[in-house]
Amino acid sequence: MVRQRLQPVRVAVGVDRPIVYGAAVDPTDLNTAQHFLEQNRTSPIRLETMFNQADPGEGRNDLQAVRSKGIRFLINTQTSSHLVPTLDLYDDAQVLAINVSATSTKLSNRDDYLLRIIPDLAQEQRAIASRINQMEGSRLLVMRDTRNHHYTEPALEEFLKALQAQRSWQITVKAFRADRFDPREEQGVVNQLYDVLYILGGDFLPTMGNLAQQFHLANPSAPILLTPWAHSPAVLANAGEARRQILIASPYPDRRSNAAVDSFLNNHQQRFGYLPYAMGLGTRQAIELLDQAFRQGLRTPAAVKRHLLQNQPHQTSLGAIRFTASGDVEGTYHFHRP
């Protein structure tokens, strides 16, 4: 059989630059994309890298750097704080991005060239609030990471609104910077007695594990809820015995109940030697969507966007995806115990 040789298309995948000097960069997204191409040798995709600086103020420069190379398709892994200031760059059909990591509602309902395959924070926070409302107790500590404030500020707002709509809580909200976490600074709040801790973290910094552990010392039986962005082996590694009390919200099903997710995580660990963070699932779905579009001969952002919004739903190895008219998705939330 003669295989059709497809014209290659450059697709940039986001890689986060080190947040802490000398610390490792997690290559989950890039490795996920590489793994897909290793499994699909005939894919027309040619991988490029989009480096995300740690400073959200650099998000615009990061995107401009990719555009200047003539790359027209992105799998964007920027946080909301990186992404919101760059939204005007997606108004025209210069570049089409599928974001897997930014849930700000400022990105919702926009007819632009930024698509998302993760539900926005309103859905996420409502689900978390609903779950907390099912828990016992009345004292709730919310630790909000201010580094990714474009996400955590509206998320907190949505969360409190949803939470208080159903039940009355004694809520303590404390802001902290996950990248500059100092247990001595937090001990005054964290060492008090609470029934539930909600760490509203905006990315996968491992210090959320340290914070959970610090809380756990004073409140050994209190459940600890984490956002989807904490769904990272590095966070859990620092959680110590608090790990038993942790519940992580996730738009993806638990690997113990979903064979496709389990297979993806196992294959990744087998290939690269480490367990990826959960966002890698979205990256895998995004690259599959682009691959399917390119295999149909579509080569422009406008054509690919039209295809993604019109021919629904799209099947991926990790489940089906259905976009809204504005290129967002809606989904249900799962709560995993690590």
């Binding site: 610390a23 594990g209 552990q213 015995e241």
Partner: protein, 607 residues
């Protein structure tokens, strides 16, 4: 049976094979050379990674000694002594069996762990469990460093050491913050010019001499490959990651070797190979063009001319001019070809001279025979009249004179008969030939005459023409037969010259008769028919109803003004010498004379 090919093609194919082999050897050699150069270049850089590894190993050795010293101190003195005794450690803890920090002897400022912090979920816990599991297998007092771990204290790459405390119920855990390695990496990389990375076992980059270089992970399996690891593209640069041998660190130092020098090496080798290849191809083309022009083309020309000589065609005409020019050029240049050329020219000239002599001899013989024939007829009449006059003349008087006249006439007749006998023995070069070829040549020779008269000519049975195109093999002299056929064609053309232009038709037809009792191999026939007035004595009815009259028993008379009647006689004589005969009739469709000559076909087994 192997199909023959030309010498030129054979030499060309041999040369092409040699060229292909040479190019293959050349490209393989250049590839191997480039590979060897690259390997040496890589080994130099791999040694850099191993030097750094060795440096760290020494450092860890010192740290182990310090760690043992701390354990030997009483617990209450450890906190005070920690900063003095264990300078290489950034953090020192006492842990309980659940890996929870019981006491902090030493802590780096800004550490994110605290008393009560548990390492139970971290890679440190796995390391401690592994240590316990393999404790029996190790020498007493020895300890192994942990793999490179991203520390819970500050996320910086670290190595942990663990020892059972003296009271046996707790553990001593020390952390070597590898930030000092970072500085070392930076200095070393500045000297070597290649970035150095510390990579954990799972491929994650833990430390980098170039923090601005955004490399998140390295495939250690490839980086440890003894030959050529995969390329790593970062920004506009391409690197080859080279890992040192695996160490007790559990990770590896990786040197990023710029790929550009290696690529340049390969490009230079490839360019050199390409240049030599082009040179070889150029030599190949030049050599073969020269050989073709100076040897193969002249040889081919010789072969063609030999063929022409064999077939009786004229040489040195038409499309062979360019070949002959190249032959002449080659003959000017090479002694051997010059000799061949001279001999060949001399041979052709000799053949042509002999052919000319034969033609002249034949023509003279035939002319003499014709004259003799024409003399014999009236001479017979003269003798008859003389004999009648002698019988009726009185004795004496004229009788002796008449008797003498008769006697002299008789002598002349005998002389003429002797000439006829001589003519019938004219030498001819009997050889196997194709009557169609002789006819073709005769047509060619008489073409000019037909054109000047304006004759519409048709030939049937010749090669490439209608009717039977198969050969008519006979034995005979090609020159004599050609002349005979040419005579028939000339007669026909002259016969129609007086006709109206649209009635000047002439046709040559080749025929074949099947074997019979008289002619066991069959007969080859050639008929020349015209639209002229026809031969005298052949009325229309006879011409149309019979196959024709045998001209061998007929006196030959001309029907043309100024004609001698010798043409047909020459034809008849020639045909008879070849064992055949002539027939004449009136052509049913053209209306004029139809003269046919018949010759016995050559037996198939004769060459």
């Amino acid at each position: 049976m192997r199909r023959p090919i030309s010498f030129w093609r054979y030499c060309l194919s041999q040369d092409l094979m040699a060229l292909a082999v040479a190019l293959g050897v050349l490209s393989s050699a250049s590839w191997l050379a480039a590979r060897e150069l690259n390997r040496r270049y890589l080994n130099l850089h791999r040694a850099d990674a191993e030097r750094v590894q060795f440096h760290l190993h020494e450092h860890i050795g010192d740290a182990m000694d310090q760690f043992h010293s701390l354990r030997d101190l009483p617990p209450e003195e450890r906190s005070q002594a920690a900063n003095l005794v264990t300078q290489d450690f950034s953090d020192l803890y006492r842990l309980d069996q659940q890996m929870k920090i019981l006491h902090i002897y030493k802590s780096k400022p800004g550490s994110r762990v605290f008393q009560g912090f548990s390492f139970s979920a971290s890679p440190v816990a796995r390391f401690i469990r592994d240590q316990s599991r393999h404790r029996e297998a190790r020498k007493p007092g020895s300890l192994d460093p942990s793999p490179v771990i991203r520390a819970a204290e500050d996320e910086i790459a670290s190595i942990y050491l663990v020892l059972k405390d003296n009271n046996r119920s707790s553990l001593l855990l020390g952390r070597l913050n590898l930030s000092f390695v970072q500085n070392f990496l930076r200095r070393f990389a500045a000297i070597s010019g290649s970035p150095l990375l510390l990579v954990s076992n799972d491929g994650l980059v833990m430390l980098s001499s170039h923090p601005d270089l955004p490399i998140a992970s390295i495939d250690l399996n490839r980086a440890r490959s003894p030959h050529f690891p995969g390329l790593l593209e970062v920004g506009n640069e391409r690197w080859l990651p080279l890992a040192g041998q695996q160490y007790e660190l559990g990770g590896a130092f990786v040197t990023l070797v710029p790929a550009r020098p290696m690529e340049q090496q390969r490009q230079v080798m490839a360019m050199a190979a390409l240049a030599v290849s082009l040179l070889l191809v150029a030599i190949f083309i030049l050599k073969n063009r020269t050989l073709h022009a100076n040897l193969f083309n002249p040889v081919s020309t010789f072969a063609e001319q030999l063929r022409q000589v064999e077939s009786g065609e004229a040489t040195g005409t038409g499309h062979n001019t360019s070949q002959q020019r190249s032959l002449a050029q080659a003959a000017d240049r090479f002694l051997e070809i010059n000799l061949i050329q001279e001999r060949f020219t001399a041979m052709v000239a000799a053949i042509q001279l002999r052919e000319k002599e034969l033609r002249q001899s034949l023509r003279a013989s035939l002319a003499a025979a014709a004259v003799g024939h024409e003399i014999k007829q009236p001479l017979s009449t003269i003798r008859l009249l003389c004999q009648q006059a002698t019988r009726s003349a009185p004795a004496g008087g004229l009788r002796p004179l008449l008797s003498q006249l008769d006697s002299e006439s008789s002598r002349v007749a005998r002389t003429v008969e002797s000439m006829r006998m001589l003519l019938s023995n004219v030498k001819s070069n009997q050889e196997p030939l194709d009557l169609t070829n002789a006819a073709s040549h005769a047509i060619t020779f008489t073409h000019h005459q037909r054109r000047s008269i304006g004759v519409v000519f048709e030939a049937e049975g010749l090669h490439g023409r209608p009717l039977d195109a198969s050969p008519l093999p006979v034995v005979g002299d090609p020159v004599q037969l050609q002349i005979a056929i040419a005579n028939l064609l000339r007669n026909g053309a002259e016969a129609v010259a007086a006709m109206a232009p649209e009635r000047r038709l002439l046709r040559l037809r080749l025929k074949r008769q099947p074997p019979s009792a008289d002619h066991p191999h069959g007969l080859a026939g050639l008929e020349v028919a015209d639209s002229g007035p026809g031969l005298p004595g052949l009325d229309e009815t006879e011409g149309l109803t019979h196959a024709g009259r045998d001209l061998g028993r007929q006196p030959l008379r001309t029907t043309k003004a100024g004609g001698s009647g010798l043409g047909l006689f020459v034809v008849r004589t020639t045909v008879e010498q070849h064992g055949g005969w002539l027939q004449a009739s009136r052509s049913a469709d053209l209306g004029g004379a139809a003269v046919s000559l018949w010759l016995p076909l050559r037996p198939p087994h004769e060459a």
